[in-house]
Subunit: 216 residues, 2 copies
């Protein structure tokens, strides 16, 4: 039995946001921040913020607030960002290249060790010092190099097959950009970026705002 | 005053998911679905699903369930997807091209009318029958062509400037991929895809799963 507090999906979504804003504060040289100030910045209520952060321990002091550096480091630990991850990108089209450049440019601890594609015209190319290899070698490479995370940037039709190979090779997590809900074993973490969901949420907000304007 | 029910941010996130799964059911020729069956597929509780859908009217019948086609169409309407949107993409690097290809390939009602960049080597190129124009023309183009949505795929440093031009030109919504929290007027809808937040949530899930495994 685990003694750890059960962490809701909603908190998992909020923690990276806290981290991002604390990072902004660090950059500006701010040392202390209250839950009210965080609330102003992030848009969650102060009590929500206190409750979230209390889930993981006592970081703040009443009437004093939070130490920015300390809280930032603690959230990094909670998120598992106090280590580096070995990753591969599968599908080196525009999106795969964009993700590769993004992780390379911002040096965020998710090191891309290998790139994979099925297109013979791309295989053998180099992007940011990483070679594009044949997808046929994916599973063996993942196993041999102890890859932690597979990033799937192939199309909908091939995504589950790629996920199966990544899982067979032993990855611990998959970051999926294909517009499909993948099936993976329960011990493998799966995070999907569903671009269409995001676009549809935008559409809804546009509609709501124009209805509000019409009612005024 | 509005008589519309106030819709929480959480529902806005769930509705596109309902739509996606209903789309899968349609593809498979399924005509009816119960909240329990939806719950099995989507992972929300059946009562959550009934409550969400009741927010917008009475779509289901007790003991009968939901008509898939009808509910799909209704959710489309609620999301504002029963119309098409004119969009522009600003920043035609890998990510901008990936988004352009994505919207083109999946024909999802967000029609890209113009592409914009500041790089003279790219300006004048054509991608999927759309010309890449100079960012200097962005505001005027948005105004003249009544563009609804601007998609920002430039880097962090230029994103707010691009957003200001889009807003000045009269867009109603912005889909932002730059890793920054943009500031826009309250009548403009803003949806940001924060890739780092998603990656950090994945990291957290990997950590949690390995801790669970260690405790067994």
């Amino acid at each position: 039995m685990s003694n750890k507090p059960k962490v809701s999906n909603a908190i998992i979504r909020r923690l990276p946001r806290y981290r991002r804003y604390l990072g902004h504060l660090q950059t500006r040289g701010v040392r202390k921040v209250s839950s009210n100030e965080l609330s102003e910045m992030i848009g969650y209520t102060a009590s929500q913020i206190r409750q979230d952060l209390n889930t993981f321990g006592e970081f703040g002091q009443q009437g004093y607030g939070y130490e920015v550096d300390k809280l930032y480091k603690e959230i990094n630990k909670i998120l598992g960002l106090d280590r580096e991850y070995k990753t591969v990108v599968v599908g080196v089209g525009n999106l795969g290249q964009a993700i590769t450049n993004y992780t390379y440019y911002y040096k965020i601890g998710f090191n891309i060790m290998g790139l994979f594609d099925i297109n013979p015209k791309i295989i053998g190319n180099w992007i940011n010092d990483v070679e594009v290899m044949d997808c046929a070698e994916l599973e063996e490479y993942v196993r041999r190099e102890n890859i932690d995370i597979g990033i799937i940037c192939v199309n909908r039709e091939n995504a589950q097959d790629v996920a199966d190979k990544l899982v067979a090779g032993g990855v611990r997590g998959i970051w999926n950009f294909a517009p499909i809900d993948l099936v993976v074993p329960s011990d493998v973490a799966l995070e999907s970026v569903h671009l269409s969901d995001s676009l549809h949420a935008l559409s809804f907000m546009i509609k709501s705002k124009s209805e509000q304007a019409a009612e005024k």
